[in-house]
């Protein structure tokens, strides 16, 4: 089990190797990487800045991770979330779920992302092409996605 909040980029292959190593009891590894998109519709952004609640973030990520381990037979998990200023194309978030079988790994990875998006105290602010900046609104679809696990 590992969670990390960092400004630096991450290497998916290196993180997977770090998590799995020489273990031979893991039959399924699901990795999810979230990336900054340049825009939706007509809107174009030049950067996105992620703020968080430093004293709470890792504690909340650990709670989310523990909840996943309580629900599925997971051998190992990694959650990495970046903060600070990111540009389109950069990686923001990494979830790795490792289990003996694929179903638990797939489901746990989806659960971890749904709960990271709705529970972990991060906030995105976008800077648009024209220089304006605006906080990203929470999306109802993310709440619905998280509620399906209750």
């Amino acid at each position: 089990m590992a969670v990390c909040v960092q400004t630096d980029d991450f290497d998916v292959a290196a993180e997977t190797e770090k998590l799995i190593g020489a273990r031979t009891d893991i039959g399924a590894v699901v990795t999810f990487t979230g990336r900054v998109r340049e825009g939706v519709g007509d809107k174009r952004i030049t950067s996105m800045t992620l703020e968080h609640y430093p004293d709470m973030t890792e504690a909340e990520m650990l709670r989310i991770e523990a909840e996943a381990h309580a629900r599925w037979p997971l051998q190992a998990t990694t959650l990495i979330h970046r903060v600070g200023e990111l540009r389109p194309g950069e990686q923001i978030v990494l979830v790795i779920a490792a289990s003996a079988h694929r179903q638990a790994a797939f489901e746990a990875a989806a659960f971890l992302m749904d709960f990271l998006k709705t529970r972990a105290p991060f906030w995105k602010k976008e800077t648009l092409l024209n220089g304006d900046s605006a906080w990203v609104d929470a999306r109802e679809v993310d709440n619905s996605a998280a509620e399906r696990w209750s």
Binding site: G34, L50, E51, H52, Y53, D55, M56, A59, E60, H81, I92, V93, M113, L116, K117, T118, R119, A120, P121, F122, W123, K124, K125, W135, V136, D137, A138, D142
Partner: protein
């Protein structure tokens, strides 16, 4: 008998921080401030910037001692209360 003063550290994030104009402050809570919702009522009387930040009361979220809570949650002996918009990470 007078109750001991309750000093609470308040933290603000994202647009709540921007509207209030600071990221943190320490306040002494009056004894009639029992729940998170009471705290918001009390803050709103402190100045227009708080009224602005909490104008959409049902949108602003809170955490007491770094755990998400509902507005009806009691403050108890809380040392840190944070207010912020719905989270948008991931």
């Amino acid at each position: 008998m007078t109750a001991a003063p309750r000093n609470v550290r308040l933290l603000y994030f994202a647009w709540v921080r921007e509207k209030i104009g600071r990221d943190a402050e320490t306040v002494e809570l009056p004894s009639d401030v029992v729940t998170v919702s009471d705290l918001v009522d009390w803050l709103e009387q402190r100045g227009p910037e708080y009224g602005e930040a909490f104008a959409r009361r049902n949108v602003v979220r809170a955490a007491v001692d770094r755990t998400h809570v509902k507005p009806s949650a009691p403050l108890g002996a809380a040392r840190e209360v944070a207010f912020f918009p719905p989270v948008t990470g991931g």
